[in-house]
Amino acid sequence: MFVTDIRKEFYDVVVNQRVALFVSPDIDALCACKVLQSLFHCDQVQYTLVPVAGWQDLGTAFMEHKEQYQYFVLINCGANVDLLETLQPEEDSVFFICDTHRPVDVVNVYNDTQIKLLIKQDDDLGVPSYDDIFRDDEEDEEGDGNDSGNESDGSAEPSGKRRRYDEDALERRIERQRARREWEARRREILFDYEQYEFHGTSAALVMFELAWVMSKDTKDMLWWSVIGVTDQWVHDKIPHMKYVTDIATLQRHVSRHNHRNEDEENSLSIDCMRITFEYDLRLVLYQHWSLYESICNSSYTSCSFKLWSINGQKKLQEFLADMGLPLKQVRQKFNCMDMTIKENLREVIEESANKFSMKDIRVQTFAVNFGFKNRFLASDVVHAAAALLENVEKDETSADNFIKALDCLSRSNLERLHLGIDLAKKKLKAIQQTVASCICTNLILSQGPFLYCHLLEGTPDVKLFSKPLALTLLCKYLLKAFVCSTRNRRCKILPLIMAAPLDVEKGTVIVLGIPPESETSDKKNFFGRAFEKAAESTSSRTLHDHFDTSVIELKMEDRGKFLDALITLLS
C-alpha cells in the first residue's frame, strides 16, 4: 500500500529497530541511500547495507538476512514485481520500497500489511481500481452451492415445481459464468494496458530528501545528493524533460532556502563552506574538467547536431568555433587554463552561436556545488563520474566493490575518488563517441521492420565497457540520436532501437537492451520489457531477466536469431 505520511508510517516505525537496506546499482539509488544513511546516523538507527545487482542477488541477500531482520528497505528495486511471491517472506517481515520503476505491481499496491510503498501518489500512476482486478470468488461458489442445495431440496417436491427450479438455477448459473468470463477478459485487458509500458517516477533521492525536510533534518549535503539523483534520471534519459524541469524547480526552492542566510560584506560564509548554486549551464559533458574542444566532440547533443563523424561535421565545428571567435589553441587547452577573458562570457557566446547552428537547447537548468577554491562540480559531472566508477571494468573487481567505491565518491571528503571517476568517465565518453562514429560509418544499424537493431561484435575496441547496463544505455541513446540525424529514411526516424553487446565470452551470452524511439516530446515509456518476456517464452530461448529494469536482459548467443525473429513477429 502507499504510505501517506512518510514520517509516521516509515521513519517512526523503523527508528527504534534494526533495518536491512537493499540498494540497487544506479546513481539515484546511491544518492537516496546516502541521504537515508545520514538520517540513520543522526538518530542512531542500526542498519546493514547490502548492494544487490539483480533479482537473484536480492533473493540471496534476503535469504541471508531474513532471520535477523524484520524491517527491510528496498531502494530502486522491488516495486514492479510481486515481491511476496518472489521472496516468500515470513508473516512479520515488512518491506518499505522506495522505487522509481513503474508500473508498480498491483499486488504490491493492494497489500495492506507487508508492503509499504514510499512513492508519491500524485506521480501519475494510473493504478487500476481494486474491484477491477480482485474479486471474491466465494460468492460464486456459494451461489452454486445454493443451486445444488435447491435441487436436492426440490427433489422432495412435486415434479412440476422441480423443473422450474432447475431451469431458474441453470439460467442463473449460466448468467453468472458469462459475467465472470466478461470480468476476467476486462481484467486481462486492464492489466495488459497497465503493465505494458515501463517508465520511471520521481527520483528516490528526492523522496528521501523530502522525508528529511519534513523532519527538519535536511542538510546541504543531502540536498546535493538529491540534486545528483534527479540529474542522474535526466542524464540516463529515464524521465521526460518536463518532469526534469518540474523536479529542478522543486529543488530550486530548497536551494534558495538553504542559501539565504545573513550573508553580507561582514558576515560572508567562508570559502570552504559548501555552496549550491542554480545554474543555467551548458549541456557540454564535463567541460569544466576537460578542454572545451573535447567536451564538444564527446557530448551527444553537439556531436549529433554537427554530425561529427563526417568530414562535413568537422568543418562545421571549425566554423562554429570561428564564429564565436575562440582560437583553437585556447579551446584545446584544459578549461581551467583558458584565458579569463574567454571564460567570462562563455555561456552567452556559445548560446548565441549555437542558435545560429540550430542548437536551441545548448543550455540546461542544473545545479553546481562549490567548496574551497579548487572544487567546483556540476551535478552532471558527478553523475558521470559515479556511473563510471560503478561500472568500472578496468580492474577485475566485483560489482559490490565498485558499488562501495561509487558510494564513497559521493562524499565530499573523497575527492580523489571523484577525480578518478571523472577520468574514467572521460575514457568512457570517448569510447562511446568512437563506437557511435564507427557504427554510423559502417552502417551497423539495420532496420528490422518494427525496430532498429545493432549488434556490437566482440572485436570492437572497448567493448568490455558496454557489457554494463548504464554504459550500454548511454551508447544506445547516443547511437539512436546520431542515426536519426544521419538517416534520410523518414520511417526509420520513429523506430525504437534494440542493441546487443557481448557480455561474457566464455559463457556465450550477450546483453540486450531496448530503448523507445527518439522524439522531442517522448514520455520515455518503454514496451520492450514485456516484449522480451513474450519473445523469450514463445521461442524458449535461454534468457535471464535479472536486471531491475525489465528492458535489459541477458541472452545466449545462439538463441539470438530466433529471439529476434519472434520479436519482429510480435511487434509488427
Binding site: R18, Q37, F40, H41, Q44, V45, Q46, Y47, T48, L49, V50, P51, E64, H65, E67, Q68, T398, A400, D401, F403, I404, D408, S411, S413
Partner: protein, 196 residues
Amino acid sequence: MFCEKSVELIRELHRMGDGQLPAFNEDGIRQVLEEMKALYEQNQTDVNEAKTEGKSELIPSIKFRHSCLLRNQRCIAAYLYDRLLRIRALRWEYGSVLPTTIRFHMCAEEMEWFNQYKKSLATYMRSIGGEEGLDITQDMKPPKSLYIEVRCLKDHGEFEIDDGTVILLKKNSQHFLPRWKCEQLIRQGVLEHVIS
C-alpha cells in the same frame, strides 16, 4: 668474533618493527649461552693460572672475555625484555585470546608470563569501576560517537551483539553498529571504519 650472535638476535627483533613478534629464536639463545659458557670456562682457567703462576699478561684477555660476557648478557636480557613488552602490547591489541599464529611464536615461559599478565590485568579491571569492573582495553582513544559505520572487508560469518541479535558479516556490506562491539573486529582487520 665474539658477541656477534647476540647482536644478531637484537637485529632480528629490530627488523620486525611495529610490534610484531617473530618466532622465539631458541637456537640463537642456545648458541649465545654456549658461547658465554665457553668464555666463562676459559676465563676460569686463565684466572686460576694467573693466580697460581702470576702470569699478569693473561689479565687483558681475562678482562676482554669478561666484557664479552657482560655484553652477551646485556643483549640476551634486552632481547627477552623487548619480547615481553611486545607480548604485553598484544594483550591490549588482540584481547585475551591470541591468534594461533602468534601463539606459535612464543616459547613456553613467555606463554606463562602472558597468562600471569592477563590474570593481573583482569584482577585490576575487576577492582575498579564498581561492581562489574571496567574494561579499560576498550575505547583507547576518546570516542566521537556511540555508533560507527563499518564496512566488512572479508566474509566473517555471523556476529552476535549485546542484545542477542545476530548480524551476517559479508564482504562489502556496510553496517551501523555500536562502537564497543566493532573495535575488536576493526583491530583484527575484518571491519573497516568508514568516515564520511
